[in-house]
């Protein structure tokens, strides 16, 4: 009888399919994964510690650098936490609309990246992702117009937004949003029924709903397991209750369902954007008297539905101008906790797809 043994393979930290600096030690039986141990921390910058030495406002730029694909969403979560802690409000209407517009544009941009690079992981090198990145670039142009920066905007701040958008922003945003449905249709036509894509994604990386909830997984990863949980509906924040949109779910529990949920969420984001761009009023964009934020001693946790899932900031104040403690509930870290469950039993080639289907950013995992 042929003697066989398992093989331990190190994947990463420098590896094109790990979407950053992430390492996993994989035990293989032939080509099949029998165990997986993730290793984190290669991008750890100590942001939570650094935050303790800076004022509430000075910490906004750090949040850009968490999930650097969706800086605007990170700004929003942090701003909501500071506002809750310090009792800042009400936020001016125009600022609320701008926040929702930026957050939903971010969601579309993030899902463009997630879907594009998932195709890269499949071996469809750089043709599908090019279409996605082209569309994302139009959105990043809008961010640059509003904040001066494509990816590190620091635009949404405690009390409102940094400054009003220039006069050309809203017409430009309406134009970008008007062309999004055609782009999503094109992506849908190109990919959804594609035989290779279906063969590679379906029944790969199964995550049953009970297990997903127990592991604390959120975002498209959770909704693709059939759990209709979205913070925008479960515990609404900002002005989301004013907009008509649906929570997109799929019940395949696999990588293909995650892809479908992301396509569906882009369409829902377009719906929200159309409503917000139609209704946005004129007016101030920063609440009155937000200067030298010194929250009373206490603590608050605020969370949002970021493109990748629940992102939250837990802030503790001792009454000084700096946070006493700033804990970041990192979506990507918790979602990565489901990787082993999903990967065991699959082939190595599928492991790369499963990791891609989670959609992580290491800046947020390691902080």
């Amino acid at each position: 009888m042929l003697r066989t043994e398992t093989l331990t393979v190190n994947v990463g930290p420098q590896h094109p399919s790990t979407h950053g600096v992430f390492r996993m030690v994989v035990t293989l039986d032939g080509e099949r994964v029998v165990d997986l141990v993730p290793h984190f921390g290669y991008l750890h910058r100590g942001i939570e510690k650094l935050a303790e030495g800076r004022t509430y406002l000075q910490n906004v730029p750090f949040t850009d650098r968490l999930d650097y694909i969706s800086g605007m969403s990170n700004n929003l979560a942090y701003a909501l936490a500071v506002e809750k802690l310090a009792g800042i409000g009400p936020i001016p209407e125009r600022a609320e609309y701008l926040r929702v517009i930026m957050a939903e544009l971010t969601r579309v941009a993030n899902h463009c990246v997630a879907i594009g690079f998932l195709l890269n992981d499949l071996g469809a090198f750089f043709t599908p992702v090019l279409y996605c990145l082209r569309e994302r670039e139009y959105i990043l142009d809008l961010f640059e117009m509003a904040s001066g920066s494509r990816m590190t905007p620091s635009y949404i701040r405690p009390g409102g937004v940094a400054e009003d958008v220039p006069a050309e922003f809203l017409p430009a945003a309406r134009k970008v949003v008007a062309q999004l449905p055609a782009f999503i249709d094109q992506l849908d036509a190109l990919l959804t029924g594609n035989e290779i894509l279906m063969a590679r994604l379906q029944r790969i990386g199964i995550l049953p709903p009970e297990r997903a909830v127990a592991l604390g997984v959120t975002g498209p990863l959770l909704r693709a397991s059939g759990v209709a949980y979205d913070v925008r509906k479960a515990e609404p924040y900002s002005i989301y209750p004013r907009f008509d949109f649906d929570v997109v779910t799929a019940d395949g529990q696999d990588a293909y369902s995650r892809y479908l949920v992301r396509i569906g969420e882009m369409r829902q984001s377009v719906r929200i954007l159309e409503q917000a761009l139609k209704d946005i009023p004129e007016g101030p964009v920063m609440a009155e008297g937000v200067r030298r934020i010194r929250p009373p001693a206490g603590e608050a946790y605020a969370r949002i539905e970021a493109p990748k899932g629940e992102l939250g900031f837990y802030l503790v104040s001792d009454g000084s101008p700096n946070p006493y403690r700033c804990h970041i509930r990192a979506t990507s870290l918790v979602n990565l906790g489901a990787l082993r469950d999903m990967a065991v039993g699959h082939l190595v080639a599928d492991l790369i797809i499963i990791l891609g289907s989670i959609d992580i950013t290491l800046g947020e995992v390691d902080r």
Binding site: F40, G41, H44, G46, E48, K49, G53, K84, L85, V213, A214, L215, G216, V217, V227, Y229, K233, A234, E235, P296, A297, G298, E299, A300, Y301, R303, E310, G312, Y314, V316, Y324, R325, H327, R329, L333, V334, L336, G337, D366, R367
Partner: protein
């Protein structure tokens, strides 16, 4: 304010008579201080009887003389947070692990262990997560000395050849 959460806690106290729980002042979310010995019992009851099936976050806080561990619980049926808190003396930072109740606690507790040195008893795999094995100390403790900008001190221990870009 926070009627339904207080209601849940009253039901919990009726169901678990020996357990002592008190609300925390100054917190913006409904927060309750639990004794460390009853944490597992309370957590299991909240999950099974009150529908808190989703553990969102575990955060450690160094309060100077004590360590706090803060748990943010939600229900996937919707609604706001219920926050549990345990407090431990600074020199005995031991808390029972909740991995058996919510597997989500696994990585989050490792993070609190790594950055604050809080020990979660019963955790299946309590290792450092963001920093490397052998890192001196736990940086989120208030006693931790931040040497990020202490270049001069670092260079003092090097010979002049070892100092990178010394000519600059």
């Amino acid at each position: 304010m926070h009627v339904s959460e207080s209601d849940t806690i009253s039901r919990l106290q009726a169901a678990l008579p020996g357990v002592h729980i008190e609300p925390v002042e100054g917190a913006k979310d409904p927060t309750f201080l639990v004794e460390v010995d009853s944490l597992l019992q309370v957590a299991a009851w909240l999950r099974d009887q009150a529908g808190y099936d989703y553990l969102s976050g575990v955060a450690g806080v160094d309060r100077g003389e004590r360590f706090e561990v803060v748990y943010h619980l939600y229900s996937t049926r919707g609604g706001g947070a219920l926050v549990l808190k345990v407090s431990r003396p600074w020199d005995v930072p031991e808390v029972p692990s909740l991995v058996g109740i919510w597997p989500a606690a696994n990585l989050l507790e490792r993070e609190a262990y790594d950055l604050l040195g809080i020990t979660f008893t019963g955790h299946p795999d309590l290792r450092r997560i963001l920093l490397w094995e052998g890192f001196p100390g736990h940086p989120l403790r208030k006693t931790f000395e931040n040497k990020t900008f202490a270049h001069a001190e670092m260079q003092a221990t090097m010979t002049s050849e070892e100092v990178p870009h010394a000519e600059n």
